[in-house]
């Protein structure tokens, strides 16, 4: 686990422990002083002499206690269940159990437990005599209750975060009851500070130090120990990787550049740059990588594809806690792409937990050693604290998923939104283009995403365009708790994908996707011409004014030096070395950066993504590469891009 320890954090920890002592201790003193006022006002009855007969009216009071107990038990169980708050019913019932257990442990504060005369208990007996419990120098009962309860809370918290799906609400309610009810009532602060108040100072220091030390030790053991790896049970069938990510990167890059017809050297200058440095062959040593041809740099996107190869095939089958439903291309009935179907209840996911699960899975698939992984989605504190750390040793590149623009957060957004495409509205390119309200669709998709992540409505910030419908004012803000998150970056991309990708693959499919012809790129595509077409289509679709400079938005489309922006004649080829990648609409920097990034992705996707399935057959088939039941499931996963027979595309 990639937690760094620094002085500031240690000081905060000590401060928290210190505050935790001081404030309750001060409150105890305040209560004691306040009671003096009551004492002076009305003294209590003198204590009854020993052996005095119990007055008969007590039996009635005891009946009353029993009846009140039964009535309250019915209320605290029945009312929460009636309102659907079963976690409160668990809290109450398990809490009474914990409190009674603490009451039964209390006698051991004064007297040591009577141990059987077995040989096993020698060390325990030595400990008891060392602690001198009989002399009242060490409240062993409260100590046992506190340390035991802390252990229970640690295990329950760990289970609820890493072992139990967020969707499993009954079990999560039970775990809440165990945490807040049983552990919360078993442990006590009030008796603890009262004992510290009465103990002698050396005994008090020892007692407090022992209580804190063992409790903090529990937490370290449960959460920080490498013996309990993060979410390992979710992927109990995780397989060792069968090929090196560096080799995969190099092969994919060469395939892509071959397809583009990128020259290896020209006039002394090297256009093609293919680099993936893994000194030991493992991904943890991937200190740098590059894949470019002239100005066309596709490094990050290619790294993202490698993650896709590892992860996407498992989405529908094994990532059940993360992805409760397989991706399907549901056709909605409304004219809006993402507006349709938003009324239906969305399944909520714990985004942080999903991120960590998916990252752990991807790193396992990439062959990252456990001790080199750094996985930290939200500091275990919810979406408000999203950091999105997913690294493997030196491999901290955006392609893997470090930070808000990585591949792991992107895949999690795709998982929701890909299901929301309405492909039936989009057929017919290039003869029929139906511009969409890009600003509105981004808002819709963002709202669905934040709903999906259980972001509280009051904490959402959704501003796609400052002026609705005006692309010049595109901002693309989609955040929760005002923190930069992956949604601002990814949601507009997915909206673009929704109309780009269905049209991409039928048009630009060149290589036959057969296992016999994987890396032998026999046909080339013209990168400049392809990008020019893609740019035009994209700008048309988002409602940017048509091809010439007319209307509201100034529109440029010059992918390569010398390219006119119009469709080049068949057979004409421009060198990718002259790539400039200018494709813009209006003057919104956010929108133009988005367009530029996305176009390169489409070029790669149309060339490589459809080769996923045969590519997966390359590693030795002794162990299955992906956790798929049949080779067809990956096609089904990619069905938006990969038209299956009988689909409506």
């Amino acid at each position: 686990m990639g937690f760094s320890y620094n002085l500031g954090r240690v000081l905060q920890w000590l401060m928290a422990l210190w505050e935790g002592f001081i404030l309750p201790l001060a409150a105890l003193h305040a209560g004691q002083h306040a009671s003096q006022w009551y004492k002076g006002w009305r003294p209590l009855d003198p204590p009854a002499p020993q052996g005095a007969p119990i007055p008969s009216w007590h039996s009635g009071a005891e009946w009353a206690i029993l009846i009140i107990y039964l009535a309250c038990t019915g209320l605290v169980i029945g009312l929460p269940l009636y309102f659907g708050w079963d976690f409160l019913a668990w809290t109450a019932t398990l809490g009474s159990l914990g409190a009674y257990l603490r009451f039964r442990l209390a006698p051991y504060n004064k007297a040591p437990p009577a141990l059987p005369n077995w040989s096993c208990c020698g060390p325990l007996r030595a400990l008891i005599s060392f602690l001198d419990i009989g002399a009242g120098r060490f409240p062993a009962g409260t100590f046992t209750a506190n340390s035991l309860g802390t252990l229970v809370l640690a295990v329950a918290t760990w289970a609820s975060k890493f072992r139990v799906s967020y969707h499993d609400l009954p079990t999560q309610s039970l775990l809440f009851g165990v945490s807040m009810g049983f552990a919360g009532c078993l442990t006590t602060m009030s008796t603890f500070v009262l004992e510290l108040h009465t103990l002698s100072r050396p005994a008090g220091y020892f007692y407090a130090g022992a209580s804190l030390a063992i409790s903090q030790l529990w937490w370290a053991m449960v959460f920080e120990s490498s013996a309990v790896p993060l979410s390992s049970s979710v992927y109990s069938t995780a397989l060792p990787p069968t090929l090196s990510p560096c080799a995969l990167f190099t092969a994919q890059c060469n395939l892509f550049l071959d397809t583009l017809g990128c020259p290896t050297a020209q006039g002394g200058g090297v256009y093609r740059v293919v680099k993936a440095a893994c000194p030991s062959g493992g991904v943890e040593d991937l200190v740098g990588y590059a894949c470019s041809c002239g100005g066309l740099d596709v490094s990050d996107r290619l790294a993202g594809l490698i993650i896709d190869v590892q992860v996407k095939g498992n989405i529908s089958s094994s990532l059940v806690p993360v992805f409760p439903h397989p991706i399907d291309t549901r056709v909605e009935g409304s004219a809006s792409l993402f507006g349709a179907g938003m009324q239906e209840p969305l399944e909520a996911v714990d985004y942080c937990l999903s991120f960590e699960n998916l990252c752990d899975h991807a790193l396992t698939r990439l062959g990252c050693p456990t001790d080199r992984r750094a996985i930290n989605a939200c500091n275990r504190q919810g979406l408000r604290h999203f950091t999105g750390t997913c690294t493997c040793g030196a491999f901290t590149v955006p392609g893997l998923g470090n930070g808000v623009e990585g591949r792991i957060p992107e895949l999690l957004i795709d998982n929701l939104l890909l299901r929301r495409y309405d492909f039936s509205k989009l057929r017919g390119y290039p003869t029929e283009i139906r511009p969409i309200d890009f600003c509105g669709e981004v808002s819709n998709a963002c709202r669905a995403t934040l709903e999906h992540w259980m972001c509280p409505p009051s904490e959402r910030s959704i501003v796609s365009c400052a002026i609705p419908g005006d692309l010049n004012t595109f901002i693309g803000e989609c955040t929760c708790f005002g923190r930069p998150g992956p949604a601002s970056h990814r949601v507009p991309q997915v909206v673009m994908d929704s109309f780009m990708k269905p049209n991409l693959f039928p048009r630009f499919q060149i290589l036959p996707a057969s296992p016999g012809n994987l890396f032998n790129a026999t046909s080339h595509i013209d990168a400049c011409a392809t990008l020019t077409i893609l740019c035009d289509y994209l700008l048309d679709s988002i409602g940017c004014s048509p091809r010439s400079v007319s209307g509201v938005y100034y529109r440029t489309n010059q992918q390569c030096v010398g390219g006119s922006g119009a469709l080049p004649p068949p057979g004409a080829s421009l060198s990718p070395a002259d790539y400039t990648g200018v494709c813009s609409c209006g003057n919104s920097p956010a929108l133009n950066k988005l367009i530029r990034t996305r176009l390169k992705g489409y070029l790669i996707d149309s060339t490589l993504a459809r080769d996923f399935e045969p590519y997966l057959l390359i590693p030795p088939p002794t162990t299955p590469f992906l956790l798929m039941s049949s080779s067809n499931s990956f096609k089904q996963l990619l069905s938006p891009f990969y038209p299956l027979p009988g689909s409506n595309l």
Partner: protein, 129 residues
Amino acid sequence: MEISADTTTRIVESEAEKPKSQPTTPFDELLLQWCVISLGAYLGAFIRVGFLYFRGGPSPSSFTVMYAQILGCAILGAASEFQARLMGGPRLHKLLYIFIATGLCGSITTFSTWMFESNKLALQQFDSG
């Protein structure tokens, strides 16, 4: 008629004799303790969980449980001044003290959550935002 009346009176008499021979109540001591501790735990746990939803205050990010700690410790501080008298007093007074000290205060306050929140500060990135 007469015979049945005789038997009825005999039963009533035998039932009336029992309390005389056993002056204590029919309830076991443990049962009563369980009842009062459970009542205190219901109340205390709900108060503590309620504080979880209480937002605002001086430092909400560090200690959600601190309000509960202060409340419980103050009540116990006041109650502890009467501990000797109540625990040395009649049975109902003992139950009252157990209800307040063990059941209520012990359940309002918690040691484990404090340990958790302190540990969070040390081992995880602390973000005051």
